[in-house]
């Protein structure tokens, strides 16, 4: 594998650089190079070659080849991805990669999105900023997901890194608009401020005003998740002085005429997030909006539209043919027929996020119109089935999409019902799926025609989609589906299971079969200690395992922790009593939530009382 990597690097290098001496280019062509031969090259050359290898996994592999490669790779690594912030400490990270410029950190486990993880669980940013600041790392980019961020951290960040360019926060919380004000005020070279789905305490202050007049470098600004008012004239002035602005996503406090003005002074926009316009606009406002939209000939991506009168969507007709990305998944006000009318003209769409109010009929229209579609997400407009909703989507829509969109590789689909026959058809239509997430709203619901389990349907998915990397299953499922997954899902990296399986065998099939498994998350399934403890070494090859409301007991978890000191085994217990009383422990007691992950830095010190680390 290393040889293949080198060859690739050489080829890249050769094709891009004309400045290497002839004898080296000659060697590059001869792909039989071994690593020892390569060591005759000066370090700078090797480093130059490594520059072409961007994927952090490839770089991790390179660093294992030899001591000298490890060293060269270390100093030339600028982008680091940390999938679990507790797997390593900031100090160790900086020691290894002192020339770090771009850092991605992920904190809470995925199920935190669904309120299964207590708020105070952890994932604090501050220690990282503190360490990076003290070590004077030249940080330029920070991307965070499910981390707890404080205003203090943001302020420290804004003051510590002169070249800081890009801050992307996804599903984070713990900060207010005051923190944003620090970023705006102090980051002189800021290019990107992207806030996605965060819980931000909005003080309705003047954070936008804090961008100095000298700030003209913005390329991307997304504050759609902020709830409060903003200073509209400050925003307009900021946009007007940002000629490089490509992406602008505003929040609901930006009214229609303001949006029109913004678009008029930024016709170069590629990506637009629209605010909230309940009432139908006056004819004049609507015409101005449409005129401004027509000028945005580079616009390719559209989102927002929460609480928007449907007529506002029609203002975008002039550019809908150019759209490659459309996110209407927050547009609860726009009924199915309006959605269909719009989407049918979006012939170049590659990404579509939409509500199930589009219906099966709507998906059939998508299937016949959007031949370039690669990623589809259909969200439930009525998750608890409170209304008698006949327009939600079913297996019919899914089959239509699979038949009509040959480039489809990622899907997230919430629906009320499914059949094995449909899943088998979908699997055969779309063997190129990388991500397949199906959520049938009612847990353990069987095939609605045959009343059988959906084992065969999902079995077909893993059998035909040989490149499948992510899978979420739902509906009525027995151990058999996991036998199929273990047997066929060779590339599977992430698996989400809920209300499925019969015995420990189910989980064992997966652990034994899926060699590339990195993340396994299970809830409300009858898997217990036997499955948990069968192969402790497996967890060293994985990032993490989550099990909640399963059959594992405290005794089982303790045994695991004893046998695997390289793991952090966390028990999350949300009773009022907090940390478990020593003398009341019963090893046979079932554990409510278990989260384990590999780490090189041992037990974390910042766990709250509801978390016990064994």
């Amino acid at each position: 594998m290393n040889r293949a990597l080198c060859s690739r690097a050489y080829l890249l290098c050769f094709s891009k650089s004309k400045s290497l001496p002839f004898e080296w280019m000659d060697r590059a062509i001869k792909l039989q190079l071994s690593t020892s031969e390569m060591n005759y090259f000066p370090d700078e050359v090797i480093e130059h070659i490594f520059d072409f290898i961007a994927s952090h996994r490839d770089r991790n592999s390179i660093s294992l080849v030899s001591k000298s490669w490890h060293k060269i790779e270390r100093y030339s690594r600028h982008q680091v991805f940390i999938g679990n912030c507790y797997a390593i400490s900031p100090e160790r990270l900086i020691r290894r990669f002192p020339c770090l410029r771009s850092l991605t950190l992920k904190g809470k486990p995925h199920f935190a999105d669904f309120n299964l993880v207590p708020h105070e669980w952890g994932g604090f940013l501050h220690p990282w900023i503190d360490a990076l600041s003290k070590a004077r790392v030249g940080l330029e980019e920070l991307r965070l997901k499910r981390m707890v961020v404080s205003d203090e951290s943001l302020e420290l960040l804004s003051r510590s890194f002169v070249s800081f360019k890009s801050l992307v926060l996804v599903s984070c919380d713990g900060f207010t608009t005051n923190g944003l004000a620090s970023i705006a005020a102090n980051c002189r070279n800021l290019r990107e401020l992207d806030l996605q789905e965060n819980e931000i305490d909005d003080h309705r202050g003047q954070w936008l005003n804090c961008f100095p007049d000298s700030c003209t470098t913005l390329v991307s600004l997304n504050f759609a998740c902020l709830e409060g008012e903003i200073n509209l004239s400050a925003l307009e002035r900021l946009v007007a002085r940002s000629p490089n602005l490509k992406s602008l996503k505003v929040n609901r406090a930006v009214p229609l005429d303001a949006l029109t003005r913004l678009m008029s002074c930024a016709p170069q926009l590629v990506d637009l997030g629209v605010g909230c316009y309940e009432n139908e606009p006056e004819a004049e406002s609507f015409d101005s909006l449409m005129a401004a939209i027509k000028k945005c000939t580079l616009l390719r991506s559209l989102s927002g539209f929460s609480e928007v009168a449907p007529v506002c969507l029609t203002a975008f007709y002039p550019i809908c043919e150019n759209l490659t990305s459309l996110n209407l998944s927050y547009a609860a006000e726009i009924q199915g027929n309006h959605l269909i009318e719009f989407v049918q003209f979006c012939k170049r769409l590659q990404l579509l996020w939409i509500l199930d109010s589009i219906g099966d009929k709507g998906l059939e229209v998508v299937a016949s119109s959007c031949k370039e579609l690669q990623e589809l997400r259909v969200f439930p407009s009525d998750p608890h089935d409170e209304e008698d909703n006949n327009t939600a989507v079913t297996e019919v829509g899914l089959v239509a999409i699979s038949a009509g969109c040959p480039k489809l590789h990622s899907i997230l689909y919430f629906c009320k019902q499914m059949t094995n026959a449909a899943l088998i058809t979908v699997a055969k239509n779309c063997p190129n799926f990388i991500r397949f997430r199906l959520c049938i709203l009612e847990p353990t619901k069987p095939d609605h025609i045959t009343s059988q389990s959906l084992d065969e349907g999902f079995g077909a998915i893993v059998q035909f989609c040989k490149g499948l990397r992510r899978l979420s299953v739902s509906g009525l499922l027995t151990d058999k589906v996991f036998l199929y997954i273990g047997m066929y899902a060779e590339q599977l990296e992430m698996l989400s299971i809920a209300f499925a399986g019969d015995t420990d065998k189910g989980m064992l099939y997966v652990l034994n079969g899926c060699k590339k498994l990195r993340k396994l998350e299970i809830r409300d399934s009858p898997f217990g200690n036997a499955a948990l403890l069968a192969d402790v070494g497996k967890y060293e090859t994985m990032r993490s395992l989550w099990m909640s409301s399963c059959e594992v007991t405290l005794g089982g978890c303790k045994r695991l922790a004893r046998n695997a000191p390289w793991l952090n085994v966390e028990i999350i217990n949300e009773n009022e009593n907090g940390r478990m009383e020593r003398n009341e422990e019963d090893e046979r007691e079932k554990v409510d939530k278990l989260y384990l992950y590999r780490t090189v830095v041992g037990t974390r010190k910042d766990a709250p009382p509801c978390v016990t680390i064994l």
């Binding site: 999105d113 449907p310 209304e387």
Partner: protein, 194 residues
């Protein structure tokens, strides 16, 4: 599970195929639902048959649907900003959804900004650009439309009967129906007058 008799098992409603252990586990999660179902089960005579007004009502209330924590897996940000749940917080501020038969989209109206039924009538007329809705509130029987509302208990009532103050406190949403469709809709009776 509780040590009830066979009676409890038979009358217990399950989501999956009968006899599956997993549904029992799920039932544990919904403690409230369990209480309702087993208590109504012990009251009914038929086995497994859901009968009587009480149990039907339960099936309509949110607690009976699978209100399992974190299910379906829609992230909390999206739930807050999109789902019907988000609407209930708005009711407190006076906004309610208004739908009108024949009109493809929902509108919202701020009940707090109207003083009485006359005001509301005027506002509704303006909202949909259709005259005559307001008349329904005042005259009752002489026009094409009927304005009904869903109250806190989930019942649909004819708008205009109860005192204004009571109305705005209990109104969750409004619907403007064609009179011809209204009969047989299942409106709650007007009360003592009927």
């Amino acid at each position: 599970m509780e040590k009830g008799g066979v009676e409890h098992e038979i009358t217990e409603l399950r989501l999956g195929l009968p006899g599956r252990d997993v549904t029992e586990k799920m039932m544990k999660k919904r403690g409230f639902t369990e209480m309702i179902m087993t208590s109504s089960g012990s009251n009914s005579d038929e086995s497994g048959v859901v009968s009587g007004g009480d149990v039907e009502k339960i099936n309509e209330s949110p607690a009976a649907k699978s209100e399992v924590v974190g299910w379906p897996p829609v992230c909390s940000y999206r739930r807050k900003n999109n789902c019907k749940e988000a609407w209930t917080t708005k009711v407190g501020l006076g906004y309610v959804k208004v739908s009108m038969d024949g009109v493809p989209y929902l509108r919202k109206i701020d009940l707090g900004s109207s003083q009485d039924y006359d005001d509301l009538a005027f506002a509704l007329d303006k909202l949909f650009g259709v005259r005559g809705i307001g008349v329904a509130l005042k005259d009752g029987d002489n026009c094409e439309y009927v304005t009904i509302y869903e109250d806190k208990d989930g019942d649909w009532m004819l708008a205009g009967d109860v005192p204004w103050g009571m109305f705005i406190e209990s109104c969750k949403r409004l619907r403007i129906m064609k009179r011809s469709d209204a009969t047989g809709f299942g409106l709650q009776p007007r009360g003592v007058d009927e």
